[in-house]
C-alpha cells in the first residue's frame, strides 16, 4: 500500500466511524477512544446498557462489536439478537449490554471494540455494595438502604453514606416528604440531601449507621420516597473507595390515595387526597353514579385545574402531595348519588379512582 492510499483509507474509516454514536443508558455519549467508567460496584457484578446509533446520513455496516477483558461479556439486545455484520441505516440504533462478572475485588478493565474504534471499559469491584429494598422505587413509598459487605472486612473501618434527591432537568425539587427517616430516639425526617457516618467492625457484613451523638447505630435506614419524580442517588465512601447507586422514581399519573364523598341537602363535597409527582395536573373530571351504576347529570363534570395546581405547586410544602376539595351545589335529591369516579390528567397520563358515599 502506498502512503497516499493509506491516508485515503484512514480518512474513509474516520468518516464511517463518525457516524456511529455510542451512548449509555443515561444518554452520556462517548467519543472514540474515551474511557467508560462503570464505577465502584459490588462483587455481584454489574450490567450496563449501551446503544450504538447511526447519526450519519448514510447506512453503516457494523462488522465488529466485541469486548475483551477478564470477567467481561457482551450481549446484543433483541429476540433473537441480531447477527453481525449488519447494516445500521441512518438514525437506526443497536442496543447491547456489557456485563462484568468479577471473580473478586479489585480493578477490572476491558476493551470494547466497535468496528475499528475502541473504548476502555473499567470498574472497581469493591467488597461492599449499596442495597435498597425494594429495588424499584416509586413515589409514596418507604424503603430501606443499607451497606452490605460481600467480603467481610478483617479490620474495623468507617465511612459515609451520602444521599441526594435529584429532580429531573427542569423538574421541581423541594419535597419535604422525601428523606431519611432517622431511627429512634430521633425519628426525624431529615431533608432530601445529606450524609450519615457508618462504622464497620471486623468480621461484620453490614455497616452500622451512626444515628445520634450518643453512638446509637442501625444496620439499615428507612427513607421516604416523597412525591416528586426524579432520582435518589446514594454514594458510599470508605477509605479511598467510593460507589454510587441511583434509583429512578418515574413520573406517574396522579395517585389518588383517598376520596371522601359526602352528600347533604343541596350539596355534594369531595375530598381527594393524593400526589402528583410531575406537579402538572391539568384536567379533572367527576362522574357521579347512582346505586345501579347509572351516570347522573348527563355525564362527567370536567374542569381545567392547571392554573390552580400550578399556583399550588409554586411552593408546595409537601412535594407533589395535595388535597383537592370540591363542593357541588345541587338543586335536587342528592340521595341518588351513590358513588363518584374521579379522573385526573397530568403529563404522565390519565388516572381514575372510585369512591362510594362515606358511611354515616
Amino acid at each position: 500500500m502506498t502512503g497516499r492510499a493509506a491516508i485515503w483509507m484512514l480518512l474513509a474509516c474516520s468518516a464511517a466511524l463518525a457516524q456511529l454514536q455510542l451512548t449509555d443508558s443515561t444518554g452520556n455519549a462517548y467519543a472514540p477512544g474515551q474511557a467508560i467508567d462503570l464505577g465502584g460496584i459490588g462483587t455481584a457484578g454489574t450490567t450496563a446498557a449501551f446503544q450504538i446509533t447511526n447519526t450519519g446520513t448514510a447506512g453503516v455496516t457494523l462488522n465488529t462489536l466485541t469486548i475483551q477483558g477478564q470477567g467481561f461479556s457482551l450481549a446484543l439486545s433483541g429476540t433473537p439478537p441480531p447477527a453481525l455484520p449488519l447494516t445500521l441505516d441512518t438514525t437506526a440504533s443497536l442496543s447491547f449490554t456489557v456485563t462484568l462478572t468479577p471473580s473478586g475485588v479489585g480493578a477490572y478493565s476491558a476493551t470494547l471494540s466497535i468496528n475499528q474504534n475502541s473504548y476502555l471499559v473499567f470498574a472497581n469491584v469493591l467488597p461492599f455494595h449499596i442495597a435498597v429494598t425494594p429495588g424499584t422505587l416509586e413515589s409514596g413509598q418507604q424503603a430501606t438502604v443499607s451497606v452490605v459487605f460481600d467480603v467481610v472486612p478483617a479490620s474495623a473501618d468507617a465511612g459515609t453514606l451520602e444521599w441526594d434527591f435529584q429532580a429531573p432537568p427542569g423538574g421541581a425539587a423541594g419535597d419535604m416528604g422525601m428523606g431519611l427517616l432517622l431511627p429512634a430516639p430521633s425519628n426525624e425526617l431529615v431533608p432530601p440531601r445529606g450524609s450519615v457516618a457508618f462504622n464497620i467492625g471486623a468480621g461484620q457484613n453490614a455497616a452500622q449507621f451512626v444515628i445520634d451523638s450518643s453512638g446509637d447505630t442501625a444496620a439499615s435506614l428507612t427513607f421516604q420516597t416523597g412525591s416528586t419524580a426524579g432520582t435518589v442517588l446514594f454514594t458510599v465512601a470508605l477509605g479511598g473507595d467510593s460507589t454510587q447507586a441511583s434509583f429512578p422514581i418515574a413520573p406517574a399519573p396522579v395517585w389518588m390515595d383517598t376520596i371522601l364523598l359526602n352528600t347533604g341537602p343541596g350539596a355534594i363535597t369531595l375530598d381527594v387526597s393524593g400526589w402528583d409527582n410531575t406537579r402538572s395536573a391539568s384536567q379533572v373530571s367527576f362522574t357521579f353514579l347512582d346505586s345501579g351504576g347509572n351516570i347522573l347529570g348527563g355525564g362527567p363534570i370536567s374542569a381545567d385545574v392547571s392554573s390552580d395546581f400550578e399556583e399550588y405547586f409554586q411552593n408546595p410544602p409537601l412535594g407533589g402531595e395535595f388535597e383537592l376539595r370540591a363542593a357541588f351545589v345541587v338543586t335536587g335529591d342528592t340521595s341518588q348519588v351513590n358513588s363518584v369516579t374521579v379522573q385526573f390528567t397530568n403529563s404522565a397520563g390519565v388516572s381514575s379512582a372510585n369512591a362510594t358515599i362515606a358511611a354515616e
Partner: protein, 255 residues
C-alpha cells in the same frame, strides 16, 4: 328521569370553587405527651408543629380530636384548634369519635363513661363498667361499644348512648394482653407481642410485625391507627382500610 340533569345543573360552576391544599392525615401523640398535626398521605407523612403538651390520651378523626390531659378533657377541630375544655379526672382515658361527630370518653381512674355532644359539658353515661375497659367506639347513633376485660376474658359490651344501660355483652375471641383499639364497625386492632392484629367482625384477621411490642394504640386519623412503643422505638402507623392495610413509620417533629 328528566330531573337528573337538572339536579346537577349547577355543578360545573360549583366545581370551580375547588380548593387545593396540603392533605391532613390526622394527629400524632409523641412519647413526651406532645400532640400535633400530621400531614400527607400514608407512608410519606410529615409532622407539623405540636399544639398541645401534657397529653395522656388522644383520638383524632377527619373532623374532630379528643384530647385528655392530666386534668382536662378537650375537644379540638380538625386543625387541632381548641373548641371546648372541661375538668377531668387524672390519668388516661379511652376515647371514641363517631362518624356523625358524637364522641365519648371513659376515664380509667374513676371508671366513668361520658358522652360528648358538641360544646355541651360531657354527659355521664355510667359510673362504672364491669372489668377493665380496654377500648371504646361509637357504633352508629344509638350505641357505644366497649371492649372490657373481665378476669382475663375479653367481652364486647354494647351500651345505650341514651340511657347508659348495657344492652348486651358477648365474648370476644381471645385477644392478648396488649393495647386494643375498637373501630365503629366492630373491627378490633390489638397488640400481640411484637405483632399488631386487625380482627374484622366476620372473623378475618391480618397481622403485621412491629419493631417492638406496642404500648398504646390510638386513632391517628381517618382509617389510621397510631402505635406507640417504649422508649427506643419510633412510632408507626397502621392503615386500616380493608384491603389496604399496611404498617409504616411516622416521622416526628424535631425537638
Amino acid at each position: 328521569m328528566t330531573r337528573i340533569p337538572a339536579v346537577f345543573c349547577l355543578c360545573v360552576a360549583a366545581a370551580a370553587q375547588a380548593q387545593i391544599g396540603v392533605p391532613r392525615a390526622g394527629c400524632i401523640l409523641d412519647r413526651t405527651g406532645s400532640l400535633g398535626p400530621v400531614y400527607g398521605v400514608p407512608a410519606i407523612l410529615m409532622p407539623g408543629t405540636a399544639v398541645a403538651s401534657g397529653v395522656i390520651s388522644a383520638a383524632c378523626s377527619g373532623q374532630l380530636a379528643l384530647v385528655k390531659t392530666g386534668s382536662a378533657l378537650e375537644v379540638r377541630d380538625s386543625q387541632l384548634r381548641l373548641l371546648a375544655r372541661w375538668p377531668a379526672p387524672p390519668g388516661p382515658a379511652r376515647l371514641a369519635i363517631g362518624a356523625n361527630g358524637a364522641a365519648a370518653a371513659y376515664f380509667v381512674e374513676t371508671r366513668e363513661l361520658v358522652a360528648i355532644e358538641g360544646a355541651l359539658a360531657p354527659r355521664s353515661l355510667r359510673n362504672a363498667l364491669p372489668g377493665a375497659v380496654l377500648a371504646i367506639a361509637i357504633a352508629g347513633t344509638q350505641y357505644l361499644d366497649a371492649v372490657v376485660s373481665i378476669g382475663g376474658a375479653a367481652q364486647l359490651v354494647r351500651i345505650s348512648l341514651a340511657s347508659g344501660a348495657i344492652e348486651r355483652a358477648a365474648a370476644l375471641a381471645e385477644i392478648a394482653g396488649g393495647p386494643v383499639m375498637l373501630l365503629p364497625d366492630g373491627t378490633l386492632v390489638y397488640g400481640d407481642g411484637a405483632n399488631i392484629a386487625i380482627l374484622r367482625p366476620g372473623g378475618a384477621e391480618r397481622r403485621f410485625a412491629l419493631p417492638a411490642p406496642a404500648v398504646s394504640i390510638y386513632a391517628m386519623g381517618n382509617q389510621l391507627a397510631g402505635i406507640a412503643f417504649a422508649a427506643g422505638t419510633g412510632p408507626v402507623a397502621l392503615r386500616l382500610e380493608p384491603g389496604r392495610e399496611r404498617v409504616f413509620r411516622v416521622p416526628e417533629a424535631a425537638e
